[in-house]
Structures are given as structure tokens and as C-alpha cells.
């Protein structure tokens, strides 16, 4: 084949720019640390990695929801625990009140006063807040749920709304509990006990009834706390699941997106060597080496 100078120069330039293009691509890949710089480099891979990235972003949101839900439930659990402690003490007091050994003065004053204090404590627990929001008010996060309008009447200002929280894709949990059915029997049994103790003519039957009421109210607290505990485990399991998925997705994503640095740098080295060789060859090809230099 006839080789012309123009053709040789064109070829040289084509080779040089082809090499430069490869080097530039490798350099940008190394700089970005990514296998693919744009979707067109590998459309299918890009689509999958975008989906994974979305899922990861989504998990992030679930993670923060779970964190909040867990904190809230722990606060509720602590309140229920306090209720149980008070309940146990109340049971003890009423049992003492039921015994015949107690004087009516002691019964009327000391015991009744202590029970009265417990009522206040229970109401106070019912009004516990978490990060400024009432735990037992249902949806009415900013309304104080329990108020004693008079010493014998408990008013519930919440709405018993159940707070649903999404803790994992397709999985949600109720993070609070219907508060009124838990607090009202407890407070009312305590009021009944206090009133029975306070009355001038001691009514043993009334106190006994109050005692039974108290026990069933405490059973309700127990049941709610158990339910809450189960749901807390559910949240924990969801969090663990999210952690695991996140680790798996991250490693898959890294396989899909991240550049194998060692490989890329080796390729770059190779490409640079080629480029140098092309330059060297071009120097000879393009240099004024021609028959004109040798003919005289």
C-alpha cells in the first residue's frame, strides 16, 4: 500500500488522540473513584445502582423513625413501670387498711393521705412528656391529658389516638397505648380506696371493692406493658433488619459502582506507556525524515 505523508500524520494524530482519550477517561474514573461516569457507560448497571441508592436513602429514613419510636416507647415503658411500683405500694397500704389492727385515726389520716399522694403521682405520670410531647394524650400531643377537676373526678383530655409508625418497608407499629383505659380504673380505684378510708364510719366492703378494682386495674397495666414490650422487640428487630440490609446493599453498591483502584491505576500505567511509545514512533514518523534529506 502506498503510504503518504498526509495519511501518516492523520494516523499518528488519530492514535495519539485515541490514547489521550483513554488516559483522560481512566483519569476521571480514578479521580471520581467510580466505574461508570455517566449512565451511558453501563445503562443496566446504572439503573440497578440507582435503585439500590434509593433503597439505601429510604432505609436511612426508616432508621431515624425507628430511633424516635424506640425512645418514645422506652419513655412509655418507664412510665408504666412507675405505675406498677405505685400499684404495689397501694396494694400494701390497702391490705394494711383492711386489717383490724389499724386505728381509725391512722386509717383516716395517714393511709388516706398517702393514697391521695399516689393519686397525684399517677396523674403526674399520666402527664409525662417525651421531648415536649405528652406520651399518653393520643394524637393530642400538646394537650395535657389528665386533669383532676375535683378530688373525685379524673378528666381525660386526650383522644386515645393510636400513633402508627412505619418501622420498615410495609411494617408499622403502634408506639403508644390507649391511655384512658389504663389510667382511669387505676385512679378511680385509688379514689374509691381513699374515700373508703377517709369516711368516718369505716366501710370495709367499700375498701374491699376498691382493692379488687385496683388489682384488675394493675392487671390492665401489666397487660399494656407486656404488649408495649412485644412491640419494642418488633422495633428492635426491624432496626436490626435495616442494619443488615444496609450493610448488604452498601457492599453490593460498592461492587457495582466503585472502581478497582489497583486495576485502574495499572491500566493507566499501561496506557501511559503506550502513549509514550506512540509519541516516540510519531517523532520518527513525522520528523522531516524523507528522501529529500538524502538526495543531492
Amino acid at each position: 500500500m502506498r503510504v503518504t505523508h498526509q495519511g501518516m500524520i492523520n494516523n499518528t494524530i488519530a492514535h495519539l488522540s485515541g490514547n489521550m482519550d483513554q488516559i483522560a477517561r481512566l483519569q476521571s474514573k480514578i479521580a471520581a473513584g467510580k466505574k461508570n461516569l455517566s449512565p451511558s457507560d453501563d445503562p443496566v448497571n446504572t439503573s440497578q445502582s440507582l435503585t439500590m441508592r434509593s433503597t439505601l436513602n429510604n432505609l436511612q429514613a426508616y432508621r431515624s423513625t425507628n430511633e424516635l419510636t424506640r425512645e418514645w416507647m422506652e419513655a412509655a415503658d418507664y412510665s408504666l413501670e412507675q405505675l406498677q411500683t405505685i400499684g404495689v405500694r397501694a396494694v400494701g397500704l390497702i391490705t394494711r387498711g383492711l386489717s383490724d389492727t389499724m386505728g381509725s385515726d391512722e386509717r383516716q389520716h395517714a393511709l388516706a393521705a398517702e393514697i391521695d399522694g399516689m393519686i397525684a403521682q399517677v396523674v403526674q405520670i399520666g402527664n409525662s412528656t417525651h421531648k415536649g410531647e405528652y406520651i399518653f394524650a393520643g394524637f393530642q400531643l400538646h394537650t395535657q391529658p389528665f386533669v383532676m377537676s375535683d378530688p373525685n373526678t379524673l378528666v381525660y383530655q386526650g383522644d386515645n389516638g393510636l400513633l402508627q409508625r412505619a418501622i420498615a418497608p410495609g411494617q408499622s407499629v403502634v408506639m403508644n397505648l390507649p391511655a384512658e383505659p389504663v389510667f382511669r380504673p387505676l385512679v378511680e380505684s385509688l379514689i374509691a380506696a381513699r374515700n373508703a378510708l377517709q369516711s368516718a364510719s369505716f366501710d370495709r366492703n367499700a375498701l374491699q371493692t376498691a382493692f379488687t378494682q385496683l388489682e384488675s386495674a394493675l392487671d390492665a397495666v401489666d397487660a399494656q406493658r407486656t404488649g408495649l414490650g412485644t412491640r419494642m422487640r418488633q422495633v428492635k428487630a426491624a432496626s436490626d433488619g435495616i442494619d443488615k440490609t444496609e450493610i448488604e446493599l452498601n457492599s453490593l453498591l460498592s461492587k457495582r459502582e466503585d472502581l478497582n483502584m489497583a486495576e485502574a491505576i495499572t491500566l493507566l500505567r499501561g496506557q501511559e506507556t503506550t502513549y509514550q511509545a506512540v509519541l516516540e514512533v510519531s517523532r520518527r514518523a513525522i520528523s522531516a525524515l524523507s528522501l529529500f534529506d538524502y538526495l543531492r
Partner: protein
């Protein structure tokens, strides 16, 4: 009888012929780097011989050579390669034009970076989910409004960028049409001169080079095909419609495209009513296709997504209640990607997370909006918003990848054909050097022969008849 004068004549002819050869070589060397130049060569031939009359025979002793002359100055070109090269380079330029614009769009959309729309979508959904986790939290509400605004602006910006690229391509169409017209005029002008020279029996080599170069450009722009006529003129046509016939060039022109202002369409100027130009390839076709098919599809997809997002989110949001009891408020205004705006009437308090009034802890709406992320939507062909946009990116990536690969392959074929053309018609300086040496030696030898005749004449004129002087 050989005469001295005829000998001098032969020597002179040889000197002139070789001087002519050297001049052609000089022309080649001078144009070694001229694009589209085809090498020329002086073809030498022996002149018509004449019989020698012999004194002692009736018949001649044989034929006597009459020296040398330049028969013609040949131009090295393969018309066959020209046609093939042009058709391949037309498709190479078509793919190249597509690739250039698609790569530009891809860079603009930047979907693999943090600035991608898909990230903004994710952020928007996450904000709703976070709000569902803590519906009365004002700072979450403020940040959600911010993310919603960023999402709307993301849609707006993408729409504007795509539209801007469309407008840029429209400008490119107009300027390429002007180029085509200029080239058509040049071909017509060259046709005229070439035909004139042809009619005198000469070969207008350099004019042919010029015309071939223009025809190459025309093919790259429009995929135009050229046919050479007997009189040396070429007839150029685009998609079966004549562009240049003899010395007359028909022009293309642009006119507003109905229903798609300010876009223009390319039509034949002379036809009434104006007929659309049926492009066979070339960059103009690539640009028009991207402008009229690829980008509108992207814009359409963006509008569908924005429209569905607005519709679905608004339907839920306006059925919900804000902290202050506000209800019936759409979150977004607008109907598509460019008109999408965050509703200014929605503030942190009136953002609806609850499905009932006066329940700050109610998150039903926030949860419902957050799960839209993965919910198949009929208006998007029963896929979720994220999947829909993901699909858009992927199909666009495939288009770009195809264009890039095709432009490389077709470019390589065009290059190979051009190399072959170059191998036949290009100037090799070594070859010219060798030919120069050959011609120079022949010239020197002819000059020496002339000297010999000169000495012979000297002998006869000055050396004879001097006996006894």
C-alpha cells in the same frame, strides 16, 4: 536524413517536458498538506515517429523517434471510493451529531451525581417519612417544605435545560442549512468552470479537487449523493430531490414548524408548497432527530412524572389537616415539570400530616405520602415514581451508549475508506523526491545532448573550410 536541427529540437522538447514534470512535482509538494488535494503526475510519451528515407534503398531504414512530450497531467483519484466514503461519512456524522448532543444532555442531567433528580425525589420521600415519625415537629416540617421546593425546582431546571438544548439545536439546524446552501452554490459555480475546461479537452484537476472537497462536506451535512455527468458536471441530490443540477443550485430553507414554535423545519425553497427535505444521513439529520424525537420524549417523560407527582401528592395532602387545622391545600401548584411550584400558601403549620383536624400526633397523611415512593401509579404505567424516572435514565443511557458506539464504528469505517483514498491520491514526499531526482537527471542529460549538438554546429561552422587559411 537526420538533421542537426531536428536533433536540437528533440533535446529542447526533452528539456521542456522534464521541466514540466518538475513543475508538476513542485505542485504536488506544495500541496502535500492541502486537504482534499489529489496528487498529479505528468504522463510522458514519445512523440509520433517519422520514417527515415534511406538513400540506397527505396524503403526507409525504420522509424525515427521524435522525442518526448507531456501527454497529459493525470489526477489520481478513485471515483468509486468517493461515493463509498461519502455514504459512510454521512452516517458517521449522523451518529456523531447525535452522540455530541446526547452526551451533553447526559452531563446536564447529572443523574449519577448528588445533583440528580432521583436524589431529590428520595429526599422528598424521606422528609415525609421523617415527618411521619414525628408529625408535630416544626423543624422537620420546615425542612420538608424546603425539600419540596428543591424537588419542584429540580423539575423546573431540568425542563429548562432540556428546552435550552433544544433551542441550541434549532440554531444549529439554521446555521447548517445556510452552510448547505453555500456549498450548493459553490458546487454549481465549480460545475460551470469544470464543464468549460472539459469542453476544451483539458482536465481541470485542481477544480475537481475543490469540488470533491465540497461534495464531502455536503455528504457529511446531509448525506447528499453526487453523480458525475458526461460533461464533467455533477448532479447532487438529497434523498432523491435535486440539490445541484448543472450550474443551478436549489436552496434549502427553514420555516417555522407548525405547532412547535420557535422550532423550524427544513424545506425546499423552490417547491410550492414547500416540501420537507428527506435527509438521508449527515449531521443535520442527527440534530433534527435529537431535537424532534429524543429531547421531546425526555421532556414528555419529565412532564408525566411531575404531573403525576403533583396529582398524587396533592390528592393526599389536600385531604389532610395541618397543625393549625388548615385543610384542602394542595402542596404543589402547576401541572407539569415547568409549571410545578411549591404552593406558597403552605407553611410549616398548615403542612398536612394528619387525616383529622386537631390531632397533632396524627401522621396518617404523612405516612400515605411517604409510601407513594414505592407505590405503582397508573398514570406512570403502573410503576412507582422512582422506578419511572430510573427507567427514563436507563433508556436515555442506552440511547447515548448506542450513539457513542455507532459513531465510533462508523467513524472508523469512514477513516479506513479515507485512508484508502489517501493512499491512492495523497502526496508521498519520498515518491516526489525520487521522481524529482529522475526528472532532474533527465533534464541534465537533455541539456548535455544539446551541448553536444552545439559543439557539432561549432565544428561545422567554425572548424570547416579553414584549410590553407
Amino acid at each position: 536524413m537526420p538533421g542537426i536541427s531536428s536533433g536540437i529540437h528533440i533535446a529542447l522538447q526533452a528539456i521542456l517536458a522534464h521541466a514540466q514534470t518538475i513543475e508538476v512535482i513542485e505542485h504536488n509538494v506544495a500541496n502535500a498538506n492541502t486537504p482534499g488535494y489529489r496528487r498529479q503526475s505528468a504522463i510522458l510519451e514519445a512523440t509520433v515517429p517519422s520514417p527515415i528515407l534511406a538513400a540506397h534503398k527505396g524503403m526507409g531504414a525504420g522509424m525515427r523517434g521524435g522525442g518526448v512530450r507531456v501527454a497529459q497531467i493525470q489526477r489520481f483519484n478513485l471515483e468509486f471510493f468517493d461515493g463509498r466514503y461519502r455514504s459512510v461519512s454521512a452516517s458517521a456524522k449522523y451518529w456523531e451529531a447525535r452522540r455530541d448532543i446526547l452526551v451533553q444532555i447526559e452531563a446536564t442531567l447529572a443523574e449519577t451525581s448528588q445533583d440528580g433528580l432521583i436524589n431529590k425525589l428520595d429526599q422528598f420521600w424521606n422528609s415525609w417519612q421523617n415527618l411521619a415519625g414525628d408529625p408535630a415537629n416544626l423543624s422537620l416540617r420546615v425542612s420538608l417544605l424546603d425539600d419540596a421546593r428543591v424537588l419542584a425546582e429540580g423539575f423546573n431546571r431540568r425542563w429548562e435545560q432540556l428546552q435550552q438544548i433544544r433551542l441550541d439545536q434549532n440554531q444549529a439546524v439554521i446555521s447548517q442549512v445556510e452552510q448547505v446552501n453555500a456549498y450548493a452554490d459553490e458546487v454549481a459555480r465549480l460545475n460551470k468552470e469544470i464543464a468549460r475546461v472539459f469542453s476544451t479537452g483539458e482536465r481541470p484537476n485542481d477544480l475537481l479537487d475543490q469540488r470533491d472537497r465540497v461534495l464531502d462536506r455536503l455528504a457529511e451535512l446531509t448525506g447528499a449523493v453526487a453523480h458525475e455527468q458526461k460533461n464533467g458536471e455533477v448532479m447532487v441530490s438529497i434523498g432523491g430531490h435535486v440539490l445541484v443540477m448543472g450550474v443551478q443550485a436549489l436552496h434549502l430553507t427553514t420555516q417555522p414548524k407548525s405547532g412547535d414554535t420557535p422550532m423550524v423545519e427544513v424545506v425546499w425553497q423552490a417547491d410550492t408548497p414547500p416540501q420537507t427535505v428527506n435527509l438521508a444521513g449527515g449531521s443535520l439529520k442527527g440534530i433534527l432527530e435529537v431535537r424532534d424525537e429524543v429531547i421531546p420524549q425526555q421532556i414528555q417523560g419529565l412532564n408525566t412524572l411531575a404531573g403525576q407527582m403533583i396529582q398524587q401528592v396533592n390528592a393526599l395532602h389536600s385531604s389532610g389537616f395541618g397543625l393549625n387545622g388548615a385543610t384542602g391545600l394542595p402542596l404543589f401548584n402547576g401541572t407539569d415539570a415547568i409549571t410545578m411550584r411549591l404552593n406558597a400558601a403552605v407553611d410549616a403549620q398548615s403542612l398536612a400530616a394528619a387525616d383529622a383536624s386537631g390531632q397533632p400526633g396524627n401522621n396518617a397523611i404523612a405516612m400515605a405520602i411517604a409510601v407513594l415512593r414505592n407505590q405503582p401509579i397508573a398514570g406512570l404505567g403502573n410503576v412507582s415514581p422512582n422506578e419511572y424516572y430510573n427507567g427514563q435514565i436507563t433508556s436515555f443511557g442506552v440511547l447515548t451508549k448506542n450513539a457513542t458506539q455507532n459513531s465510533t464504528t462508523h467513524g472508523l469505517v469512514a477513516k479506513a475508506l479515507n485512508d484508502q483514498r489517501e493512499a491512492v491520491g495523497g502526496v508521498s514526499l519520498d515518491e516526489e523526491a525520487a521522481n524529482l531526482a529522475k526528472a532532474q537527471r533527465a533534464y541534465q542529460a537533455a541539456a548535455r545532448v544539446l551541448t553536444a549538438y552545439d559543439e557539432m554546429l561549432d565544428r561545422i561552422i567554425n572548424g570547416l573550410g579553414l584549410v590553407g587559411r
